[in-house]
Symmetry: C2
Subunit: 337 residues, 2 copies
């Protein structure tokens, strides 16, 4: 388990947001050679001179052994493993750029982004595979606030790949005494869970905004994971995944955290704001609002009943009152669980 027992690897982290920076620090602490690409020259300059990423991960010291650059070619030189931590809608473009530069073709890509590609409804692993056809893909996901990982607070995540050897290699590389990594071969399951949780977090926020209680939120989360699970299983995922860290684990963190943008936007909507006004006030990408559109299509495509996501869609895009939506969820026909 000690860092010294892990073979040192050349790893490139693409994206210097809070999660990318935090994972870079973790990987360097595990004795890997880490290069980080940021598209912002300004950010690279700041980190190189202060060893702090003040806007994304304030107060956390970044080791001098981590190399930051805004030149993608430089970041990818000699790279054995690429960790993608960019916004989900940027995955295709970044993957395309990487594929144009790569010399070593059978590289492993670790995707730490979550969501669907909005324009196609595809999973991010599908998008990456289309753009970098020869790569191995691994998804790293689970309940993991970047700030807590940077502070060495105990965290557990999942490394998922269709190829169990790849999942185990990534487990080996990331795992240490405060960062426990489980493996999985259910790529579809962990990705569907990661993409869908934001809709439920938005709903949890709406419930809080309406002044409802812990009972309501727990019910939304539980019935939420049930419908996420139904969709995932229809798409080919294993049911068990949704009971795991990528499923209910990540959902818990997202729905109960005050830091979640999705939950915050939901609260504003619950208090009476329109989606447009809520988004303006949050001033950041609210993935749940985007995902709600795609989910509506997916639910139809896979013929899966998704009452919570459907009500979310109606509230967000068809001016249904949140209180009415909750009422309609409560008085649906009687069900077995």
């Amino acid at each position: 388990m000690e860092g010294s027992s892990i073979m040192t690897r050349n790893i490139t982290v693409i994206g210097a947001g809070s999660w990318g920076t935090s994972l870079s620090i973790l990987l360097e602490a595990n004795n890997h050679k880490v290069k980080v690409y940021s598209h912002s020259q300004e950010e690279v300059d700041e980190i190189n001179s202060t060893r702090i990423n003040s806007s994304k991960l304030p107060g956390i010291k970044i080791s001098k052994n981590i190399f930051f650059t805004n030149v993608l070619e430089e970041a990818l030189e000699n790279s054995e493993i690429i960790v993608l931590v960019v916004p989900s809608q940027a995955i295709r473009e970044v993957s395309k750029q990487i594929n144009n530069i790569l010399k070593r073709r059978n590289i492993t890509i670790v995707c730490c982004s979550k969501g669907f590609e909005n324009s196609t409804g595809k999973l991010l692993s599908e998008v990456i595979k289309e753009e970098i056809p020869e790569c191995n893909i691994c998804i790293l996901t689970g309940p993991s606030h970047a700030e807590e990982v940077a502070l060495n607070i105990p965290t557990a995540v999942v490394s998922a790949s269709n190829d169990i050897d790849v999942a185990e290699e990534i487990q080996q590389i990331f795992m240490n005494e405060v960062f426990r990594v489980y493996t999985s071969t259910d790529v579809i399951g962990v990705e569907v869970a990661g993409a869908m949780k934001n809709i439920i977090a938005l709903c949890a926020g709406i419930s809080d905004g309406l002044g409802y209680g812990d009972n309501t939120k727990a019910a939304l989360m539980t019935r939420g994971i049930a419908e996420i699970s139904r969709l995932g299983v229809a798409m080919g995922a294993g049911h068990q995944t949704f009971l795991g860290l990528a499923g209910i684990g990540d959902l818990i963190v997202t729905c109960t955290s005050n830091h979640s943008r999705n939950r915050r936007a939901g609260m504003l909507i619950g208090k009476g704001l329109s989606l447009k006004d809520a988004l303006e006030q949050v001033k950041m990408v609210v993935e749940g609002a985007e995902a709600a559109k795609v989910i509506n299509d997916l639910s139809k495509k896979w013929n899966v009943e998704m009452p919570i996501s459907t009500e979310a869609f109606l509230v967000l895009y068809e001016n249904k009152s949140p209180r009415e939506a909750v009422r309609d969820l409560m008085i649906r026909e009687k069900k077995d669980e």
Copy 2:
């Protein structure tokens, strides 16, 4: 769904704690004839004169149509359905008393208590069945703070019985616009989940007491429900139940609420107090501490690996330091999920 469409039933609620009182109010609002038994003459007198249960459910008005008594025979007269809401360790004695009084033998007992019988490790449904052999048993469980139900905050629970007709009858009787009831036939599953959640809530409290974060707590809850599920499935439960309201739903409420005694006791232990000192400070029954003993036996009996519960046992009863326990959980051999 309106109250008027449900046939009026004669229902006896045994126990006038916060949950018993809250359910009585709910049942009366659903147009049933409700009698409540409390062992305390003083409590009965207070409610009869003020229509408030000031110590258990302060500020909530109790309808005059609900009859309170401390005479068990009176409470059970003409009863068609008995709702048991007493401490888990009192279930056997109360069931014995009920059986001695009952005239109508094929009565339905709705058990709203959670836990194992400590002296035998048995499920409460087993205990009730031993004492009232001819009854139908239904378990009503899920994420439901009594105070929120009394305030008509939207809540969803599960009604579970081996006999689906019984589960559906209870669903029909309790369900209304703010209290949604799902049915299940997995009695073992919902009972194991309800009994075990308190151990995990204690652990969640310990993690909070140690100053760990949302990541740690989400991981504990997720891996906690995984080991609860393993035990339940070994005992004959269905896996799906643990993903439901009785499983992860109830666990979420118990682990994140400030009202949970189990979580509060855990926090004190995390801050360095012994179990004995923590229990003295909480001044109430901490079911998780009791359950941890039984669970250790169950884990051996059913040959199920339960790392979190086992560490909880070591911390509570063998003076292991909580920080050491977390560390040992983090560095266990690498696993798939």
